[in-house]
Symmetry: D2
Subunit: 325 residues, 4 copies
Amino acid sequence: MFSIRTDLAVEAREIYKKSNKREVPGVKVDVEEEKDSIKITTVEIENEVGAKIIGKPVGTYITMEVPKIRHYDADFHDELSKSLAKQLCKIVQLKENQTALIVGLGNWNVTPDSLGPKVVSKLMITRHLKQYMPDQIEEGIYSVCAISPGVLGITGIETAEIIQGIIEKIKPDVLIAIDALSSRKMERVISTIQLGNTGISPGSGVGNKRMELTQNSLGIPVIAIGVPTVVDAATMSNDTIDLMIDTLIEQSKDNKEFYNMLKKVNKEEKYGMIREILNPYIGDLMVTPKEIDSLIEDMSKIIANGINICLHPAIELKDVNRYVH
Amino acid sequence: MFSIRTDLAVEAREIYKKSNKREVPGVKVDVEEEKDSIKITTVEIENEVGAKIIGKPVGTYITMEVPKIRHYDADFHDELSKSLAKQLCKIVQLKENQTALIVGLGNWNVTPDSLGPKVVSKLMITRHLKQYMPDQIEEGIYSVCAISPGVLGITGIETAEIIQGIIEKIKPDVLIAIDALSSRKMERVISTIQLGNTGISPGSGVGNKRMELTQNSLGIPVIAIGVPTVVDAATMSNDTIDLMIDTLIEQSKDNKEFYNMLKKVNKEEKYGMIREILNPYIGDLMVTPKEIDSLIEDMSKIIANGINICLHPAIELKDVNRYVH
Amino acid sequence: MFSIRTDLAVEAREIYKKSNKREVPGVKVDVEEEKDSIKITTVEIENEVGAKIIGKPVGTYITMEVPKIRHYDADFHDELSKSLAKQLCKIVQLKENQTALIVGLGNWNVTPDSLGPKVVSKLMITRHLKQYMPDQIEEGIYSVCAISPGVLGITGIETAEIIQGIIEKIKPDVLIAIDALSSRKMERVISTIQLGNTGISPGSGVGNKRMELTQNSLGIPVIAIGVPTVVDAATMSNDTIDLMIDTLIEQSKDNKEFYNMLKKVNKEEKYGMIREILNPYIGDLMVTPKEIDSLIEDMSKIIANGINICLHPAIELKDVNRYVH
Amino acid sequence: MFSIRTDLAVEAREIYKKSNKREVPGVKVDVEEEKDSIKITTVEIENEVGAKIIGKPVGTYITMEVPKIRHYDADFHDELSKSLAKQLCKIVQLKENQTALIVGLGNWNVTPDSLGPKVVSKLMITRHLKQYMPDQIEEGIYSVCAISPGVLGITGIETAEIIQGIIEKIKPDVLIAIDALSSRKMERVISTIQLGNTGISPGSGVGNKRMELTQNSLGIPVIAIGVPTVVDAATMSNDTIDLMIDTLIEQSKDNKEFYNMLKKVNKEEKYGMIREILNPYIGDLMVTPKEIDSLIEDMSKIIANGINICLHPAIELKDVNRYVH
């Protein structure tokens, strides 16, 4: 039994299933298609066996795969916000008089890591209005506050310390953290959204984050929303090599056995070798789509609206576009 | 005896002195000129009598008046950073093993209110390095961390709550808050820097801030660095009217007495009337220099470098420019 | 007979009408209300008499007054784009095989002067597609290209020279220039849109522009779209003084005659005096709404979509939001 | 004989020299080291034989290799600006009464392609001052103007058409074009500057540029300044594979011959295969350093100051920092 290193539960499950020709034990999977273009996979990790294989704590992981997202279409983006709101509401439901704290993780100076702060900038913030002028707030608008704390290199303070300090002061009932992830597959970049109800553990995300943001460390439920925004350079080289070898095997008659041998080089060993080769650059280099700026802008709006719709039951998308700015 | 409403101690003192032809009681004033172009006025409020007149708590207020600042000259800006560091070090001195938390107040989406966040983005942040790799940090580099918490409308959380939460978590020894102020004089905009050791009280600043950031509320010394970045629209109209009447009196022979009468209209009454007239617009309108974006950029660099030089005794300006980014 | 100095034809006409109690001779005016919240005034200057009074060449000037625009409401903004498209199409109609060049005037580094460049960044640009892959472009999508040339201080080249050079090279059939204007009334700022078919003459706009962009100088029809984004500081002081005097007259019983006398100070003389008083600051200072950044963003989207809908008959707003980015 | 596809003359020469164990015929090469950390290679292509091998027209190509550039050090950056000025002045020298037009190529919305526009924004622009107030301009300050025309997808106009139009209008004596390049080596990214006196030919640069900017097409000398800002994804995979195979050969005793065989796969064929494999992504993906935003910022300042110093003989770096903004 081995643990698969990836930020996405759905990816870990796929890799296991491919090698073992069966479902991960201790894991329940449900797949549904919405409107032809949104594939929603719910991975329910039910016990420690499943948790160990998937490499994530017992809990619920909902992955929305939406290749179409990268072709700009405002109507589809609106649909997606609604669909995201529906999934998000399965794992978080604010009640009257409860408060949600939304945290935009990541570094706003590095475009692919700026998703979280960008989402926060588009949220419908209401906690202060509920507090200072409760009569003027419609029913069904709940108390939401938000912060983008920055990263360790910018503040000199662990993000978890900032979050803990604020939580102890304002006592929210749930925390929703938005984070940019690194993907092992090029086609997932800015086209997959993962929701999870087990928070964020050290080592995830685009930057080198050491914090733990979990119910255990913070005392309140922690929902994580993650989107892959970069590809790991080693992964890209690795995948290219695999594809190249496959092509060589197909095309050649003679050297087939050599290539087959090359192919059999232990996968993890090969990946490790590539990482080592790229090591002087890997901390440095990132692989992103060229239009990363506008893709991040779009995705942050989709997620912000999904959160707005889910947390404020009185709000429909139309209203979100009308009131939020 | 009356209290004078302005963010600047030096302005309040001037107004009093002009009307009363004498120094404010309970206040000690020292003026020095540096390099012909930096006028430094230290207002020491010694007791409650002075405090009531000036409208600020007992403490030290250092005002640097630098009209030349608005003509871009990198060398002069460097001089000014050093001069600011010298003044700042009179009211704050970090010791080995102590930590300073710098807070950039204000809204980064409103250019004239973005001074604080801009300063924070240019600071030399070291707390995490001192913590995780103390051996690699030279002597004389002290522990500095920083945050720009945003404003109430953006976060839904009172700035003071965020700051308190962080302070309780990381226990810094001193807090330095940077804030954009509103000036009553057009010529002060982005050409005056005020340092004070009594923190920030409700109602100051460009935005509508309600927080108190003082030793009383936070438990550690609070240094405030403020710079006027906008002129109050009512003030501008009021000053223009006064200037106009003066001109009319000078020019006319006939109507002199009428104008004199107009001039005698109680000052506060006139100002109140203008505020009322402008009321539908006043929340809305701000008067700024046209080149506000680049002026804020320059000023934030000057202040950040002043802080960097003051807090890290091992650092000279040359090094700041070399290492900080 | 005197000429009234303002960028807005509708303002000049109002001032004349107020003083003279009759319509401007040589001018035809039509007013319509759309959806309760859009007031459209069409000023048709029919001859040189009217032209001299209004201070603008013979031609058509359509002013849309939309106070509601400053309260963000996405649906209303969409309505406004459609309404603008309708008005714009009264003075410009592209034909199959014709090309429109859109020019975004102004300085992108000065927020209130950045309207033009912001509009250009949101246009549906098609000239290159029509040229290189005509088969893939639907019918009713016409040839549109655009540039934001910057201002003299940034390029060292007169804007008119750049535009002339490009026109001689690519031979468009019509030019549409978007410009930020200075208003004499606070309530017009970012809530009035002026369309005109006589181009742009020297001295208009927020910055100190000397160029002429007219059919005369460029050889093709020139449509101008202008929006006031700043208030002149002298105007604001002047208006405040007038309002103050009115208030004083109403309130006082005694000094009424003095105030009346003050009021009678020749209007232009008073304005001139204020300009002189403010002179050291006037080049420098601008009066804008606090939320100028987001207001410019909204207005630029409204205008860009209006142009998109007008120039591409196959396009509806829904499609614009879908395809344009 | 074959032509080597790369934007950098120095790279093409290296590849040839490595394969052929001799200098490229028809090419003269000079290498000098400056201050230990700036390696300057001058490649003089003397005839068509050399031109064909290097894949560039007959002319002078100066490459500055500066690995140290990526570690921020303001003093070193100043040194580099001076060194760049010295090299630039070898191929361009403005005379009294001559005018230089600087063109910032590339798309300001795509960070790695924004180098050109960023340089332009930091230049000392003087043409309008020389024209309108010649008496106020010191001797030794020459006439410089500049524009960032945007890219085809943004304007709908070929960049070359815009440049031609402006040149015909304002008749400059020399054009300097700044462009972001794509590198085949990871270590060159933002650490190599290439100067050339033969302009820019179709197909160069980060974006898909089709324009030709040469003395031939524009009628005036065209100097090109290029900096690699991205790595080609195919190149990165290709290099990784080669490194991996080398490592495998070294480590293994048994399969050596297989790997050797793999290694012998024709280089161009392998690269072609990788491009094909990556094809669905290649238009899309770019590989950049994580800190690309700040690296572009630094590099643009270095180049702008280099140009400022070279074109204005009266100016020293100190003055540039003082007056330019």
